[in-house]
Symmetry: C2
Subunit: 499 residues, 2 copies
C-alpha cells in the first residue's frame, strides 16, 4: 500500500498539480459561509433564542418550566404499563409482574410482541409494524366511519417526518410554493426554507376567530402564478397552532374545493384532534370531510393527514411517535414516500406502540378502562378550565385581546405595544414582541414565543403561550404575567417613541 | 366570511384570471413526474426490491429471517430492565418490583429520571438530555483517554441524522462533492443524491483487505477539481460496511492528513466499533488518532464521529438511538447543526437512554455486572465464530472469494458470475448480482443485498450477507447457500452467454 507522500509516479502527480492549481478551493474546510445557505437562513422560533435562554435558566434552577413540557401531567398509566412490559418481555410470564400489571396491559403487550418478532429492539417495516398500523387504522376508522387502508399509512417519529417527506418531495426549486397559514407553526417555514422552496402565506382572520377566508387565498395564488411560481400544496393546521381555533366543517369543505380547483395537495396537520374545549365545537378530520363530499373532490384531492402522540391528553412528546395517512396519492408517489421512510430504516418502536395505544385505548368493560377514562377526562377538563382562564387573563389586561382557545394547547393574544417600545426594539435590531417575551422570561421565568416567530399581519404583535402550566400554578402565573405586563406598559407608555 | 364561489368584486377576479391564464400549471396535483427528481433518483439498496420481497415472504411465513434483524439475539438484560423502569416510574418504589429488578437497575433508572424531570414522555434538549450526554461523554473519554465536551455532542435517532445534517449543511448544489468509499453503505449515496450533491467515489482495495489507498483518493479529487467541483468532505466507514475490514492506525493517520491537505471534513462512521473479531485488530477511534497526532491536524481537521445503539453486541436497532461528536467545528457551524436538530425537537428518549447505557454499562462489582459481561461475551464470541464460518463457506465455493471479516456484521464475498448469467441478467435489464440475490431468496429464503447496491469496481460482482443468523442455523444456512450456488453455476456454466 502507498504511504502518504508516496507518489504513483512523480510526473503523473506533477501533471495533476499543474492541471488543478487554478481551481479555487474554499479557504476553510468548514465555515458557516460555505454551508448551504438554506440551512443558515432557516429559522425555528419555538426553539429559538428564548427557548435556549429558558433552558439555561432551567439548568440553573433544576426545575422544569418550559414550553411544551407538561411536567405536571402524569402519563396515562395503561400506556406506560404496556410500554414497560414491551421493554422487558420476561415480565409477561412473571408471577410478581402479574401482581403489578393489570391483565389487559399484559395481554396487549403480548399481542404486540407476538406481532413484532424482534420486539422493540429490532427494525420494523419502514412504514411501521403491520400489527401496529392495523391498530392505528382501526382507530381512524372508528373516528371517521370510513375505511383506512394500512397501505396508505406510515408510522413516524412524531408528525415532523411527514412534513419533511412532503416538502422534500414536492419542492424542486425556489419557484415551487407551499401555501401556509399565517400565523403558522414554524416547522412549515423552516422545512420549506430547508428544502429550497417558497412559503406562500395566507393570513388567518383574527377578527373571525382565525378562520380561513378564500379571498386572501385566491389573491395569493394568483399573484404567485403571475410571478411564474408553481403552487404545490396547502397546509392547514386544525385545531390551530398557535391560534387555537377549530375549523367549521363548511370552512373545511371550502378549503378542499379550493385545493381541487387549484390542483394542490392538502396537508392537514391534525395533531391536536383530541384537544377541543369550546362548547359546540368538535373535531372533524379532513379525511371524513373529503370522503363525504361525494363529488370529484372525494376521489381526486390528494390529502395527507398527520397525527402525533405528542399532543392530546397523553402528551408523549419525548417518545417521538406519529403517523400520516395519504388519500388519493398515486401509487408511484407512495413508492417514493416509502423509499424516503426506508432511508431512515424505521420509526422507533416505542413511538409506534404508543401511537397504536392512543388510537386504540382501553374499552368500556376492560380492567383498565375506568382508570384510563378518569385520567383522560381529568386532563381534558383541566385543559379546558385553563383555556378559559388564560383567555380571561389576557382580556383583562390593558392593550391585550385574545380569541377563544377553542382547541389545541395555545393562546395567541394580540398585544398593543407602545410606540416607544417598538422604537426601543428597533434600536436593538429586534422585533418588539421578541423584546417583550425576553423581558417576560428574565423578570418572571415565564416562557412564551414571540408572534413574529409564527408570522403575523404587519403592524400587529402577539405572543404564543401554552395552557400547559400546572393548574395549581395557573393563577400565580397569570398574576405574574399581569404584573409584568402592567410594568412593561407603564415603562414605555409615557415615552414618545423617540430617544 | 366569503363563501366559496363568492367574489370580492367580479371585475377584480376577471382581471386576475386574464392576467394569470397564461401561466402554465402542472396538469396533475401530484405525480411522480412533478416531484423533486433528486428524491425520485435516490436509491436505497438495503431496503430495495429484495428486502421488500423478503418482507412479503416473512409476512407469509410468520417467521423472522431478514437482513439486520438479529432475532436470535436476546437483548442485554440490564439495558431492558432500566428502560422498562424508566417507562413506568411507579416501579421505582414498588416492593414487588424490587424483587424483580436488581438494585443497580433501579438505581440507574432513578438517576436518569432525576436528571430528566419530564421522563421519557417529555421533550428533552434538542441535543439530548444533559444527564445522558454526560454519560455518553464519560464513555467516550474512557474509550479514548481524551476529554469529551458535551457541547460537541448530539444524541440522535440512530446514526442516520448525523449523515442527514452533514449532507444537508455541506451540499449547496451538484458541484459540491462528498468522497465516499466504494463499496459504501447506501445511506451515503442516498443522502448525497437527496440533498442534491455529487458522490465522488474512492475505491477500497479488495486485494489489500479493503484498506484505503491514497493514490485513488488523489486522482479522484484532482479530477473533480479540474471539472470545477468543490470537494467538501470524506466519509470513512470503520469497521467497514459492507466490507468488514478494520483500518490500521497508520491508514487512519494517512486519511486524516489527506483531509488536512485537501481541506475536507472527515465523517467517521464508527457504528461497528465494538464489533471486532480478527486477532491483532482493535478499534481506534478517529478522534483518538486525531488527538494524538500532535500536529496541525489535531487542532484543525473537522471531524464528525458517529455511533449507534443499532450495532455492537446490543443491536437495539428498532429503538433508534445514536450520537455524533464534532471536533474542530467552528461555533457558528455547531449553531447551525443545533438548529437542524431543534427542527426535529429532540431524539426519542428511550434511544437516548439506551445510548447512555451502552456507553456506560455495569462495572465490575456491581450487582448486574456478571450477567451483563456474560451476555456481552457470549454474543461477541458467537459473532466471531460466525465471521470465521461465513468466510470459510464462501472460500470453499467455486468462483467465490471472501476477505476476512475483521469487524462489523457483514461479509462481502466476490462472485465470478458466468458470462451466460451476466447476459441473462442484461436481457432482464437487471444487474447480475441482483438476479443472483433474488434467485437465492426465492429458492432458499436467504436474504442478501447485491453488491451493486453498495457500489463495486466495474466488472466485479459481490453479495453482502450478514453474520447475524442464529449460530445454530449457520451451518444449515451455509449448506443451503452452497447448494444454491452450485446449482446457479451449473445452470449457466455450459451456456455460452448468447441466446
Amino acid at each position: 500500500m502507498l504511504a502518504y507522500g508516496d507518489r504513483r509516479t512523480s510526473s503523473y502527480d506533477d501533471l495533476l498539480e499543474t492541471l488543478t492549481s487554478h481551481i479555487k478551493r474554499e479557504p476553510e474546510a468548514l465555515s458557516v459561509k460555505t454551508l448551504n445557505q438554506n440551512v443558515v437562513e432557516a429559522e425555528y422560533a419555538v426553539r429559538g433564542a428564548i427557548a435556549i435562554k429558558s433552558a439555561a435558566y432551567q439548568q440553573q434552577l433544576k426545575e422544569g418550566k418550559g414550553d411544551d413540557l407538561p411536567f405536571d401531567k402524569k402519563p396515562i398509566t395503561f400506556f406506560r404499563q404496556v410500554l414497560s412490559l414491551c421493554e422487558y418481555r420476561e415480565l409477561l410470564d412473571n408471577e410478581l409482574a402479574a401482581q403489578i400489571y393489570p391483565p389487559d396491559a399484559i395481554e396487549r403487550a403480548r399481542q404486540y410482541l407476538d406481532g413484532i418478532p424482534g420486539g422493540v429492539g429490532a427494525y420494523s417495516e419502514s412504514k411501521g409494524a403491520v400489527v401496529l398500523r392495523k391498530q392505528v387504522a382501526q382507530g381512524i376508522e372508528a373516528r371517521d366511519g370510513h375505511p383506512c387502508d394500512i397501505d396508505n399509512l406510515w408510522l413516524t417519529d412524531g408528525a415532523s417526518p411527514a412534513v419533511h417527506y412532503c416538502m422534500k418531495s414536492l419542492l424542486r426549486n425556489e419557484h415551487d410554493c407551499i401555501l401556509c397559514p399565517i400565523p403558522q407553526y414554524p416547522l412549515y417555514s423552516a422545512t420549506i426554507k430547508l428544502y429550497g422552496g417558497t412559503l406562500l402565506p395566507y393570513y388567518l382572520e383574527e377578527s373571525e376567530g382565525w378562520q380561513t377566508t378564500l379571498d386572501n387565498l385566491r389573491v395569493q395564488v394568483g399573484t404567485a402564478r403571475r410571478q411564474g411560481k408553481q403552487v404545490r400544496a396547502m397546509v392547514v393546521i386544525n385545531p390551530g397552532n398557535p391560534t387555537g381555533q377549530v375549523l367549521d366543517r363548511d370552512n373545511q369543505e371550502l378549503l378542499v374545493r379550493f385545493c381541487k380547483e387549484e390542483g394542490l395537495v392538502l396537508m392537514a396537520d391534525e395533531v391536536y384532534q383530541t384537544n377541543i374545549y369550546a362548547e359546540g365545537k368538535s373535531f372533524v378530520s379532513f379525511k371524513k370531510v373529503l370522503m363525504e363530499m361525494g363529488d370529484d373532490c372525494t376521489t381526486s384531492v390528494p390529502l395527507v393527514s398527520m397525527n402525533s402522540i405528542s399532543k392530546g391528553f397523553f402528551g408523549e412528546c419525548g417518545r417521538r411517535g406519529g403517523y400520516f395517512e395519504c388519500i388519493n396519492f398515486p401509487k408511484e408517489v407512495k413508492d417514493q414516500l416509502y423509499k424516503l421512510s426506508s432511508i431512515s430504516l424505521c420509526p422507533n418502536l416505542s413511538g409506534q406502540i404508543c401511537m397504536a395505544l392512543t388510537m386504540n385505548p382501553p374499552k368500556p368493560g376492560e380492567p383498565s378502562y375506568e382508570l384510563f377514562a378518569k385520567e383522560r377526562d381529568d386532563i381534558l377538563s383541566s385543559l379546558k378550565r385553563r383555556a378559559v382562564l388564560v383567555k380571561e387573563t389576557f382580556d383583562s389586561l390593558e392593550g391585550v385581546s385574545c380569541t377563544t382557545v377553542e382547541g389545541s394547547m395555545y393562546a395567541f393574544p394580540r398585544l398593543t405595544i407602545p410606540p416607544a417600545a417598538v422604537k426601543a426594539a428597533a434600536d436593538q435590531d429586534k422585533q418588539p414582541d421578541f423584546v417583550y417575551c425576553m423581558e417576560l422570561l428574565d423578570k418572571t421565568g415565564i416562557v412564551t414565543v414571540p408572534g413574529s416567530g409564527f408570522g403575523q399581519e404587519k403592524g400587529t404583535f402577539h405572543v404564543r403561550t401554552t395552557i400547559l402550566p400546572p393548574e395549581s400554578d395557573m393563577q400565580a402565573v397569570s398574576d405574574k404575567f399581569a404584573e409584568f405586563h402592567k410594568g412593561f406598559m407603564a415603562k414605555y407608555k409615557n415615552q414618545n417613541g423617540s430617544k
